[in-house]
Symmetry: C2
Subunit: 385 residues, 2 copies
């Protein structure tokens, strides 16, 4: 398989973009990534998106966005894996380059969530759950995560307050990220006082929705000219795995088996392990998911994820920094775009362009994107070549 | 790139399946394909589907179907390219095998269209058009095709009646296909008398919706043991291209440029040309599309598609048989599944298992799947090795 480098990144701020349509948002990120890469065209476009058909009455996003950015005619497709759509699109684009079919690929993630009524957005998000056996019972997506968190607190004896450092870290990092949705630091007191959404998940456990788009440019390393001005960043490992969509069907609802499997694939492919990872852009849609991801990927024992956070190990100066640009919690979670934002942020870290939240000497980063409450999970490991 | 063979096919009848959910439909086709291939598992599942989020309130189809067929945990994703989703999923799965990442891939297409109200299905289908510049004007999907057909009649001087042989051929072939939705022969008189849908498209110009699923099993040829009982069928060529989503944005609304580009890619990859193709499973969502596909792919001069049909060249005994198992017109058009049905039918022909509509000595077949009214088009060429 050909080794693949990421040579361009682009993103829009995550926000309420009332003045920008779906194609304009995506186009802004794609054109920024092309400019960043120095390329003007590509062989293919892979778009990660979950809800455009429901919320914007628009499918066929591949052709739509390709045409909008001036690349009418190129191969283009949309890839959907619920909230894991962005990384799924990256993985699909990666295979297109690895296969030898394409020499330059654009990966874009886009989601427009704030133009519809909140109840419509909530219903659209529920399509990530099992329609016949979960959503039909009236359980919302946040309620499913609340059930998982409640069980976790019971099983391992943690208090809700022990999850505060996850949200505090995310918000502290987002302050320095101009593309983040919530650039405000929060305090432990604020976390305690936040109003309840679905017990025990309160407003500061949950990531905000938003409109946003992010993009990447992939090429085979062997086609690159040496460029002393920038490190070459390669995708060293990539893996995807699934679990049951319904939480109650899982062998163990407190273990993200798809996270473990996809991380193992990425570790195996890269020849690396958790001890080699300098920072980890994980999928903190809810604070409980941060703990579960850290555990499934080998950074903490089962039930011990919160300890890492309480010890300060997840901050940019800690042993395993997470959500270094704000994570889903504070950068925001435009669902189908999130997986691409995570990788854009990994590239910023590996280029040394992460400013105040730069992880010193970062050479290897990992990104993990989760669809549903653990149903489909994609892990990528990036490294400086 | 590794050469890839199709070693298993499966399909459900296209029908109103009130007793089967989305996952049950897909599962039936996938399990049939696995049985046909002699395999019990796979490394990945690529699902072609367009409207499950809107009509069944269910996304994350990859994980959902993988789990349902007993393959919980494997990599799985949904691929969307409007009505071209099925072939787009095949192309994505093909690249996964060609890249060396996977040694056995399941490609499935599934769509459930008859459980919702007709007005809901029509609105969902309209998401294949440009939401901002077409659908917002109230133009339906069939109306867009009617505009194209009206212009074609004007430009080239054909009469509506000249398109009758396309529909008559499709229905005549479907009579012998147990999986077809409309297994009834039609006459020229019946075609004339059919009630109007959107002038000049009448009911017998238009393909019926339906619920259905189809599946394929892909493996690298170099992993196959010799099997004298069956020919080895390989994917010799594969190509995808796009055009503007909105018809009015095209340089020429009467030329399917994405069909031409994707066919050229498939021809180039396979070293074959239109003169080598023994039969062509094309995308006759509306009879006008048959003419445009034949022209764009090099089987007829511009404006001369109907002549092939009037001369009887498109029947199983003609020079370029099309829709040999009924096509979209009579087998039915469960949109996200259609592209996979077409390839299943190609395999039946190449195995010599097409019964009364067998094309004598068929060794090379082509399938072409169209998303929107020409916005995204995927072409595959299959041959007996």
């Amino acid at each position: 398989m050909r080794e693949v480098a990421i040579i361009g990144i682009g993103q829009t701020p995550v926000d309420e973009h009332w003045d920008k349509s779906l194609r304009e948002l995506a186009g802004e990120a794609v054109l920024a990534a092309l400019r960043d890469s120095g390329r003007e065209t590509a062989d293919g476009l892979f778009v990660g998106n979950m809800m455009s058909g429901i919320l914007s009455k628009q499918e066929s996003l591949g052709a739509l966005i390709a045409d909008w950015v001036g690349l009418r005619g190129i191969e283009a497709v949309k890839v959907e894996a619920a909230c894991g759509s962005g990384a799924a699109a990256l993985r699909t684009g990666l295979m297109a380059v690895r296969s030898g079919e394409m020499d330059c690929v654009i990966v874009a993630g886009v989601e427009k969530m704030t133009e519809s009524l909140p109840v419509e957005t909530t219903a659209a998000l529920a399509t990530a759950a099992d329609a016949d056996y979960e959503s039909a019972q009236g359980v919302s997506f946040v309620a499913l995560n609340a059930l998982i968190m409640r069980r976790y607190l019971f099983e391992y004896g943690w208090n809700h307050t022990d999850f505060a450092p996850f949200s505090i870290n995310a918000h502290a990092n987002a302050v320095h990220n101009p593309f983040a949705r919530l650039r405000e630091a929060i305090t432990e007191k604020g976390y305690h006082q936040a109003r309840m959404v679905a017990d025990p998940i309160n407003l500061l456990d949950a990531s905000p929705t938003g409109d946003g788009a992010a993009a990447l440019i992939l090429v085979p390393v062997d086609t690159l000219y040496p460029d002393a001005s920038r490190p070459t960043i390669v995708i060293a490992g990539s893996g995807m795995a699934t679990d049951s969509v319904a939480v109650h069907d899982r062998y163990d609802p407190l273990f993200l088996s798809a996270a473990a499997k996809s991380a193992q694939k990425a570790y195996h492919q890269s020849g690396l392990g958790p001890q080699d990872i300098d920072f980890f852009e994980l999928h903190d849609a809810f604070s409980i998911m941060s703990a579960l991801s850290l555990e499934a990927c080998g950074f903490a024992e089962r039930g011990q994820g919160p300890r890492l956070a309480l010890e300060g190990q997840i901050t940019p100066k800690g042993s395993i920094p997470i959500c270094t640009r704000g994570g889903l919690k504070a950068r925001g979670h435009p669902v189908g775009a999130t997986g691409v934002y995570q990788v854009v942020e990994c590239v910023q870290q590996l280029r040394g362009e992460a400013g105040e939240t730069q992880v010193d000497g970062a050479k290897i980063g990992m990104a993990q994107n989760i669809g549903g409450s653990g149903a489909v999970i994609v892990t990528h490991i990036l490294r400086v070549k």
